[in-house]
Symmetry: C3
Subunit: 317 residues, 3 copies
């Protein structure tokens, strides 16, 4: 287990607070319209790695200052897209001593570049705690993708302008958005959003199903997210969340596979101290006090899927 002193962290682009079991991350680059640059990507990735391993954290909330120009305005492309490509890509070489050659759809893919938005997407997606994006401002590009799609739940301000502008900028959908968005709300809506690059409102039927809740006033977005975060932090089992997220992300290929997996999972969770407390608290009509944590009570069977490390070999984060 990791125990982090969040108050003592040396970070520039975010403010971090552990409020009871909720890790609150506030973007702090308002002068740069909260663009996805500077130290922001690496600091966010580090926080989700910490949150995953720190037993005290049960929920993570990411938000912006409600008076910032945007929740996240995307990448800063004032000097073009080539800034996306980092020296560590070149250090790896295009076909040389790469960490990972992978057979995808029968084609060997050897590639050095690792999209920075995608690195964050994977850190959020693979975090075993509940993750919530409180989108209290406009969002564009990676502000829509890595900063929203891999989260479990999204709250949004009704007045936010939302856009996936990639096809209008000469690049392609990034940050694993082509994987996540159709799974979240179906290919019909994903096509409308990714292939038109249109600016939409949260209440548009094209995107509304992406959001857990749409909040009329901008300043109420984070409080609403925090209220649910505290409820979930107090009243859900850390193991239950991790296993249920695992089952949603790695359900097996067929219903029979899934039956075997969730049976195995429930045999483990159902015999736990958390399950005993959950049943007693329900019977006594009182809030539960779940004692189990991932570092103390995890089974060697979990995770049941193959973990793949796709980071650079020479320049791992």
């Amino acid at each position: 287990m990791v125990v982090v002193d969040y108050a003592a962290l040396n970070v520039e682009s975010i403010k971090v607070t552990l409020d009871e079991a909720v890790l609150i991350i506030v973007l702090d680059r308002a002068k740069q319209r909260n663009s996805y640059g500077g130290t922001l990507p690496t600091e966010l990735i580090e926080m989700f790695t910490f949150a995953d391993r720190d037993d005290r954290v049960r929920v993570v909330v990411v938000t912006a200052e409600p008076d910032a120009p945007a929740y996240c305005s995307g990448a800063d492309i004032s000097s073009g897209w080539s800034q996306l490509f980092k020296p560590e890509d070149e250090a790896e070489g295009e076909t040389g001593a790469l960490p990972w050659t992978h057979r995808i759809n029968a084609i060997d893919v050897v590639v050095a570049h690792r999209d920075t938005g995608g690195k964050l997407s994977m850190a959020v997606y693979n975090c075993r705690k509940i993750t919530i994006a409180a989108v209290n401002g406009h969002a564009a590009g990676v502000g829509m993708t890595a900063m929203q799609l891999p989260f479990d739940l999204r709250f949004v301000w009704e007045g936010a302008k939302l856009v996936f502008p990639f096809v209008r900028r000469g690049i392609n959908a990034e940050a694993t958005s082509s994987y996540l968005l159709p799974r979240l709300l179906g290919h019909s809506r994903a096509n409308s959003l990714l292939l038109t690059g249109a600016v939409v409102s949260p209440t548009s039927p094209l995107i509304s199903s992406l959001y857990h809740e749409i909040i009329p006033r901008r300043e109420d977005v984070f409080p609403a997210a925090l209220k649910l975060a505290k409820d979930l932090a107090s009243n859900t089992s850390q193991i239950s969340i991790a296993y249920t997220k695992g089952l949603l992300q790695h359900p097996g290929d067929t219903i029979e596979d899934n039956h075997i997996l969730d049976s195995r999972a429930i045999r483990l969770t159902g015999s736990s101290a958390d399950a005993a407390e959950g049943a007693v608290a329900f019977k006594e009509k009182r809030p539960p006090r779940f004692p189990d944590t991932l570092s103390k009570n995890s089974s060697p069977w979990y995770p049941w899927w193959k973990l793949v490390d796709v980071r650079h070999r020479k320049a791992k984060l």
Copy 2:
């Protein structure tokens, strides 16, 4: 073919009627709030096995008495979750002479426990007839999962309180819900429902797309479901339904795979007596009278997918 005398069945927890080609199953455990216990699971599983094989049955409807305390209140956990684990699990042993070791995502899974909710889910999901849940009351836990998700269509009372409470009870999503729910309405809504454990109304945008129809008055739910059931029983081809369900559940991995599969299927169904009758009835603007049945007119090509039996070896139902 199986021909069952449903009126003579020795069942305790349900009432069963064959009304023309509609098999009506009414839950009959109102005193236990229609909890998923006693003989209910095995009786329901048996009925879906019968319905699958009995050519006279074209549609199955499951409902509750409209004045019962709930459509299905879930498992009875008054004595904890360990009641979920049965002696037959132990009889199989954890790593011993198991019926099925399966390589899922590159990990060999050996597991004895078989979740009872999941057994029903598979029986409903694999039934080749149309299945309808008429949810005329509150539903919780397995009352949301096995009792609703594997059905083809769901009707619901607008006033029903609906909840997937697993993460608030110390266990994980069960009964193949982590497989079925995201497929039914997308991962965005599935996350909101399974990871928060919130109580929702059928008209909530978080869950409304789960339902074929939302009915204002509780006593009108079953009649609405039965009306559609009778329409479908009279006017759809048993073979058409089975092949279309098969294609939806086993579509192939790519559009090309699917093209080959549905071409093969339509070569078979398109040459059938049902297709001839369907074309003539359409031309003559009269209801069709489809003669084909699964036991008499099925092709050796169907099913084209691999059937997997994941039941216990020593204690098969």
Copy 3:
């Protein structure tokens, strides 16, 4: 690259115009209620093959005359379904010298028939340009499937009557609809539509998420679609669209796979002339003028998935 003189095409069932970069295809079988017959299927398939290869085409729009009896009334079954089966199927033989035997879900499938609707579905789906269906009239059967589902975006007239009638005609869902429809709007809605064969309105919650936009007046459907088509033709990169469509259709099996794929893609698109122009135009707040085209600027890496040709060997289109 293909350069087609669309004005000089010898076609019977459609009218074709290249309007700037938008290829407009108007169905011209109003006397046959725009049924999917005669030369219509082969002419449509040919147009999408041209559109895919002709660099001048950036968007394809299919529509009907707004005063036609239907957008597309489906197959003409006045002489039964057997008309679906063509001599070239027989020429191939059922188990003989077939072009393609394929292991789908562990079963070798050998099949001669190729569903004509599915042939069009694949031609539309695999077209690398933006495809839009402007459904300005009623639609049934293949008029719902091949004529709508494989398109990127669908506009529809609010008054249209829409129906997937297969199970009421004795056949099964065809034209790859069992693959496409659940992916577009989820299995809950796909079941409701394909298993009931009900006639629905575009505003029904069962189908509304299929449509990019629902237009009150019939005569406004095509103009609305054309307006978006022209916007996209002028302001999107041909390469960006092709790569983003490729990523949506072939995203990899896991988020890690997808990260590797979209990183590779963005390394290529991000270094392109289109990306440079996209960044500069954005900075200068002017519309972009994208210079790249698929035939001139494609990478040998694209497509990264395996292309499969499932056409008849002896009777290729």
